[in-house]
Each structure stands twice: as C-alpha cells, then as structure tokens.
C-alpha cells in the first residue's frame, strides 16, 4: 500500500514538474522571440544572422542526436553541401533565392538519404565513424569537382529579390527573412519531436531492441529521422550561403561537423532550446577570438573536454535539472 502512495506522490510531483517547466518554457520562448525581433537594432545584423543559421543547424543536428540517439559525425556534408547547391543555383543559373534554398534543402535530403542508407547499418560508435568517413568522401568530392570552384569557393552569390518583391540586399529584410525561416525550422523540429513519429524515435533512443520487438521497423524510422535532420541542416546551410553570399570548403570539413556537435553538447543534448544557446555561445566565442589571435580550435577543444568530463547535461539540461530538483523539494 505504501508503495502505491509513493507512486501517487511521484506522479503528482512529475505533473507539477512538467507544468512548471512547460509554463516556464513558453514564457522564455515568447521573450526569446521578442528579443530576436528587436535585436537587429542593437546588435550587428550579420552576426545575428550567422548565429541564427548555426542555431538552426544545431537544432537540426539535435533532432538526430538528442531525440533519436544517433551521433552523426558528418553533418557538415548537409550544411555545406546545401550551401554549394544554393550558391550554384542562384549565381550560375540565376534562380531566385527561395528556389535556390529549396534546391539546397532537397539536395541535402538526398545526400542524407544516401549517407543514412549506409550508416544505419551499424550502431553507436561505428555509426559515428561511418558518417565521418562518408562526409570526408564528400569533402574530397567537393575539392575535386569543378562546380564548387575549388579553394576559392563560390563567391559573389547575389542575394536577389525574395519572391520577386522583397529586396534581400537590405540588411533588415534579410534579417527578418532569416528569422522567419529559423522560426519555421525550429517549429518544424518541435512538431516532429512531439509527434507520434517523434515518440517512436525517442523509444529507439531509449531502447532500440524493445522498439524492434514492439514491431517498429527501426531502420526506416532512423532513416526518416536522418533525412529530416539532413534536410533541416541543409536549410540552415542554404540560408547561410544567401546571407554571406558565398559557399566554401570550410562548411564541408569534419571540423564543421565537430563544431555542431559542440554547440549541441554545450547547450544541452535533447533539449529544444539548448542547441540555440550553444550555437550562440560558440559563434560569439569564435567572433571574440577571431580578433584576439588565440587559436579557436584550442578553445573549442577545451570546451569539448570540459563538457564531456563535468558538464554532460549542457547549460539548458543543467538548468532544468536544478529547477526540477527545487520544485521537487517544495
């Protein structure tokens, strides 16, 4: 009997915790969007746009790592690949920006389908190594292929007119377009994560064998998650190509794949807001270091080591853990 009571207490406690965190989340989301709306009047818009692109990239990555439990070490392929596709379509073929971005997303999804097809054949550590190897293969392809224009990259991509009316060369127009795409992208991820499909992904993360024995075709779900994550990472890359008006090899290197892992890890794996905060911090740090002369890779490497050793929940994860502990005590 005492066991039953404690279960009840546990249940109400959890409900309170869930309610508290939900209320808090919505307040923070509202405040965050408000801040992003006024931000370009206070902060350099280019920096904000870079932040938003990488935040979307990290959220897309987190869809795979945080909610499906798959560590991809090859996400630069989708980010940088999509940037190349968009830059090429807009500059060489003269496509409007929205069509270029759609092409980038489609291309990234296709790359995701191919890479995912091979990678989901192995699990855990092998999955990470396979994605890394395949993305290195894509890197070599980009080095040799003429359409990427080699070491120079595709430079001077015109921003153009969005659907023929909105001039993206104006900084504020560009910023609000980026913000809109970012919000749509994050909303899409939120919907995916909280859909029945997303629940199955979580069950795969928690216990893959049980998901199999319950009759789910785990391989298909993993592949689906991989393609979605790739497409959204591609969206971020395409957007970045339009904002910065170039696409280069930097975005397809393994360092870039590592960077997005760091953003997610630092912010909090498996949280909605974590990757956004992580990306902002990493981009902010890089911007600061760029002028100081201190090598960025040492800093990111150190943060990596510290996070893995003592800060595995990340900023947002740690915040929730402390908050829930306090609610539990009351």
């Amino acid at each position: 009997m005492s066991e039953g009571t404690s279960d009840m207490v546990e249940l109400t406690l959890r409900e309170t915790q869930a309610k508290t965190s939900a209320r808090l989340e919505w307040t923070l989301v509202g405040l965050g969007i408000l801040a992003l709306l006024v931000a370009p009047f206070l902060v350099y818009p280019i920096f904000l746009m870079k932040m938003l692109c990488f935040a979307l990239f990290a959220c897309a990555f987190n869809l795979l790592l945080g909610y499906t439990g798959l560590l991809s070490f090859g996400h630069a392929t989708f980010f940088g690949g999509a940037a190349y596709f968009t830059a090429h379509a807009v500059k060489v073929w003269g496509w409007p920006p929205e069509a270029g971005i759609l092409l980038g997303v489609a291309g990234a999804a296709l790359l995701g389908l191919v890479m995912g097809f091979f990678a989901i054949r192995r699990q855990g550590i092998y999955f990470a190594m396979i994605t890394l190897a395949l993305s290195q293969m894509f890197f070599f392809f980009c080095v040799q292929s003429p359409f990427t224009e080699g070491e120079d990259g595709i430079q001077g991509v015109p921003r153009g007119m969005l659907v023929g009316v909105l001039d993206l060369n104006r900084s504020l127009n560009m910023y609000y377009f980026v913000l809109a795409v970012f919000l749509i992208g994050v909303f899409a991820i939120w919907r995916i994560v909280n859909s029945p499909f997303g629940m199955i992904l979580r069950s795969i993360r928690e216990n893959e064998n049980r998901a199999i024995s319950l009759g789910y075709s785990v391989a298909n779900y993993k592949l689906g998650a991989f393609v979605m994550s790739a497409a959204l990472a591609g969206l971020a890359g395409s957007l970045k190509a339009i904002v910065f008006q170039f696409a280069t090899l930097t975005d397809v290197t393994w360092q870039m794949s590592g960077e997005v892992i760091l953003m997610t890890l630092l912010g909090g794996i498996g949280t909605m807001v974590g990757p956004i905060i992580g990306a902002s911090l990493v981009i902010g740090l890089e911007n600061t270091l760029a002028t100081s002369g201190f090598p960025v890779s040492i800093a990111t490497g150190l943060i990596f080591m510290v996070c893995v050793l003592i800060f595995r929940r990340g900023i947002v994860g740690e915040f929730y853990a402390r908050l829930l502990k306090r609610v539990g005590k009351d």
Binding site: I125, A133, Q255, G258, P295, I298, G301, M305, V308
Partner: protein, 295 residues
C-alpha cells in the same frame, strides 16, 4: 620497357610501394585503435593527434637537443605513451561507465587542442625531417629502385604489427588483456589489477601511434595537420575490418593501402575516395566488417 596493363612496370611498382607504405601506417594506426577499443570501449579520436605528436617529438628532439632518429625511435613512443597514460588517469578513466560516444567526444576535443597548439606555434606548413644517414640512398632491385628508408618502414611496421599481435595473443599479459576484454569484473575478482591494465593499454595504444609518427616523419613532412587527415581514413579502415580482431586490423590496413596505390595507377582522381568506396561496399555486403564479430 616492360608494361603491365598498359602501364610501365616501374610506375606500377612505384605506386604499389607508395600504397604499401600508406598501408603500413593504416595497419599500425588501426591496430592501436583496435587494441584501445577492445579493452576500453573508447574510440580514440586523438590517435591521429598522437601520431602527429610522435613525429613532432622526434622533430623537436632533433632541432633543440640534437637527438637523432634512432634514439627518437625509442623516446618518441615513450613520451607519447606517458602522455597517453596521464590522459587516461586524469580523464578517460572517468568516462568508462558512460556511453562510449563520450570517449569519442572527449578524445575529439583532445585532438583539437593538440592540433591547435602545434598549429599555433609551427603553422600549417610541413617541417622536413631528414632521413637518417644509415638509411639514406636506395637499392636497385633490378625491376625497380627502392629508397632504403621506405623499405625500412615496411619492415619496421611489419615487426611492430606482429610484435603487438604476439604480445596480445601469445603472452601472459596479453591473455589477461583478452580476458579483461571479455569480462573485466570477473578478471578483477581473480586479483588482476584491471584499472592498471586499462591505463597501460591506453599508454600502449598511444605509444604505437607515436611510433608510427616518428617512422612517418622522414617520409611525410612533420606538420600539425598530418594526423587528422589520416585518422579519418583509418576510421574507414576500422569499419571495413571490424574491430573484433587484431590480425584483421593489420590485414585490412595493408590491403586498403595497396588498393589505394593501385587506384592511383589506373584512376588517380579516385585514389582519395577508394577507401571510402570500399567501406560503403563492405557495409552493404557484410555490415559487421570483414573480420567483425558483432553482427
């Protein structure tokens, strides 16, 4: 001039030799990765950085202390091995109870730091390291010209690979190691100091990477980036071979090196890609890897 498949035999054998040299390094590095993974369940991303560290230790010993190649051949692996032991004691040993992915991420961070430090002080360009006088020059084998140092690297890597294999498969220490791979708790209960075994294993794996580094120094230039490009190919080698067996790692390493050399003869553009393509094919046909056990 003799021709093979329409290609001069000299060029053919020359590329094959390059492939054999690359394969020697793939074999030594994937061997170290397999040894570490077998016991620690950690994929050592820093393996490439430790290989670079080995080469740099040799270079620094020569530049600042005037210590030449042969002592460096002992000292470099020793120093890198001790470095590995310190890393394992301070950090890696705290991660064993967690998902193995954290080990990968930690060593990835370590690799970034090591590479960053050397890049900061020595730039990205390579520093030449002279071939030791004893092995300078070459030998005419009749059908081809073999630079002596390259011949030595092939021999040395074979000795290292089979030495490690013998250590693990044929000695008492190796049998402890293999037993601890199967069931560490049981082995500990028998009175073997398993944590010490883990530390020594990581040290040994790191030392192997350091040794490969100093062997590589006279062939490739000593550069901060020499490890990171190599390690990704070695990961592909490991996926192809599977990490179940030491011998498997060695054989796969040499085979893929040779395959790469052959591709360079017939279709040079694809030589960077061939290892990855082979990996993809193996994943389709035998997902567990050629020598893998964990299907």
């Amino acid at each position: 001039m003799t021709m093979i498949f329409g290609i001069p035999v000299q060029a053919f054998l020359g590329q094959l030799l390059v492939g054999l040299i690359n394969g020697s390094f793939y074999a030594m590095l994937s061997l170290g990765l397999a040894v570490i993974f077998g016991l620690l369940r950690v994929i050592n991303f820093a393996h490439g950085a430790q290989y670079m560290l080995g080469a740099f230790v040799g270079y620094l010993l020569l530049t600042y202390l005037g210590i030449g190649y042969w002592p460096a051949l002992i000292l470099a692996p020793l120093i890198v091995g001790v470095f590995g032991i310190v890393v394992e004691r301070l950090a890696l040993s705290r991660l064993y109870d967690l998902d193995p992915l954290y080990g990968l991420l930690f060593t990835f961070g370590l690799a970034l730091v090591l590479e960053g430090i050397f890049r900061y002080y020595y730039g990205v360009s390579g520093n030449p390291y002279a071939v030791p006088p004893l092995l300078a020059g070459g030998t005419n084998l009749g059908f081809m010209f073999l630079p002596n140092y390259r011949g030595w690297v092939v021999v040395a890597s074979l000795i290292v690979c089979f030495g490690t294999w013998a250590l693990i498969e044929k000695t008492r220490l190796g049998s402890y190691l293999r037993a601890a791979t199967e069931n560490p708790h049981l082995v500990q209960a028998f009175g073997v100091n398993v944590p010490l075994l883990l530390t020594l294993t990581y040290g040994l794996g790191s030392a192997l990477a350091g040794l490969a580094g100093i062997l590589a120094a006279p062939i490739y230039q000593v550069s901060p980036l020499m490890g990171s490009d190599l390690i990704i190919v070695v990961f592909a080698v490991v996926v192809v071979g599977g990490m179940g067996s030491i011998l498997g790692a060695i054989v796969t390493g040499y085979t893929l090196g040779l395959a790469e050399g052959l591709t360079k003869v017939f279709y040079p553009e694809a030589s960077n890609l061939v290892v990855f393509v082979i990996m993809a094919i193996v994943l389709l046909v035998r997902p567990a890897g050629l020598f893998g056990r964990d299907a």
